[in-house]
Symmetry: C2
Subunit: 323 residues, 2 copies
Amino acid sequence: MSPAIFIDALQDELQSIKYGQDPPELYDPIQYIMSLGGKRMRPLLTLLGAYLFTDDWKKAIRPALGVEVFHNFTLMHDDIMDRAPLRRGQPTVHEKWNGNVAILSGDVMLVNAYQLLLNVEADKLAPALARFSRTAAEVCEGQQMDMNFETRWDVSEAEYIDMIRLKTSVLLGYALELGGLIGGADDETNRQLYEGGMNIGIGFQLKDDLLDVYGDPIKFGKQVGGDIIANKKTFLLIEALAQAKGTIRDELIDWLTRTEFSKPEKVSAVTAIYDQLGIRQLTETRINEYFTRGFTNFDQVNADYDRKMLLIQFARQLVERES
Amino acid sequence: MSPAIFIDALQDELQSIKYGQDPPELYDPIQYIMSLGGKRMRPLLTLLGAYLFTDDWKKAIRPALGVEVFHNFTLMHDDIMDRAPLRRGQPTVHEKWNGNVAILSGDVMLVNAYQLLLNVEADKLAPALARFSRTAAEVCEGQQMDMNFETRWDVSEAEYIDMIRLKTSVLLGYALELGGLIGGADDETNRQLYEGGMNIGIGFQLKDDLLDVYGDPIKFGKQVGGDIIANKKTFLLIEALAQAKGTIRDELIDWLTRTEFSKPEKVSAVTAIYDQLGIRQLTETRINEYFTRGFTNFDQVNADYDRKMLLIQFARQLVERES
């Protein structure tokens, strides 16, 4: 069994989903955002989770895509809130259509996500939807925290980790747990899958923050330093703000408050401050801690060795990624 | 049994619902919009529907409130899209907080609605949620149609009825059907309840359009003629546009396109055009048609006479309302 089989199955089913037709302003944006691609990490985690416990992993495909549609719904609404012009290099829905269309299409996508999740077998439907709903509310909580952080200079590491846990990681945890649930795993196993997915997810998000500053410009694919230019409250900036004292702090604040600056100059100056404060090493340490916790969770999962290796290899790719 | 018992039970449960706490920007607006009141028609329909078939109607309370939370979610998002400053005489959420808060709080409300609906018994959960999801998507379709109509002058009666059916009436139908489902009614009965609720709902919405022009200013509670002042595409305006010929049409178009006008003068001039065209009578005829269809649906429902009278009396209040 290779992950390509799961990915192909997801893509095939994605092609066949009918979100609706009329009015087109409501449904075209759904088709559009779903066609922009993405790594399909979440539904793949669901299928890998189901395959741990059953050969009939195909019954997890539609629920898995429910998680993917939900994720894309959050992107559509987050892009309105963040006034983002581009998503995966293409115009965002509120730019291509308008804000109202993006609000309402997103609303229908959230309904569509539930519709796909309704394909979970009847005896597992209530827990699958209860856990999904809890997770969905948490993702919104994380987005609100992220927005609240924009105007604060005193965000603690614990607050930041809690925000990315809610905004990003709980859904990765849920995706994997959902697979376990559909596959027939017991509650304790599903809890380990959830925790494992969540811990890997936190490491994944911290790595995102790290790569934006220290990524290889050739491999990274995006502009290195984008977060620094935008004053984005990443793990690195929050740690730097927490640790910088005296003239280093003054210099950092100066860069954060300048309205006119040379972008390359700001990126190299702030990166130099991070270097002085040992932020890179601290971030790498935290990333490793969360990845290690995640793999420890997976160790606790009692399943066929080869099948578990598929999950672990996929998680390793997330750990070792350079883009 | 009196409807007051159902209303009190709904209010008590509404007081006890915990939507969430943190971050407050996410959850305070939910508490706020739910506290603005409203007639609680939808959850009352669910309880009346359940009581037709079971003494244990209290098990329908939380699912019923799921419908009410969903309805208020649509109000929160519609108010953003319509740029409405007031809701039930109080500032709308996007005015009191901001647009982003209204988007994200609304999103969580949609999740909360599903969480409340998860209180349907396990053996009825899948159909309850499948029908709810279909209905929720239709409500969004209706809202998109309504927005599309704003820039069109050639909306047909059939299109308009279809829009209000989707935007308003299917949820009234679903609310009643949900009660039947929870109460243990069979599929055919639930279909009649749905159709009945939907037909009453269409009549109800048409009556809304009528009262805005022909309501008794003392009893109506709102400014009579508000829809005329705002050029709102109501049933009356759509019929007038479809029927007016020659100088009457020119006069109507003139009033619709003036940017400066005396409000009382516009209201009385457009009302006079409606009078000339017999729009009031036509609207009353349609209202009666839909109400009659609704009561015919209820006739088909096989349930205890006294219990059915509670539902029919409630529907009659909607028919005979003057505000």
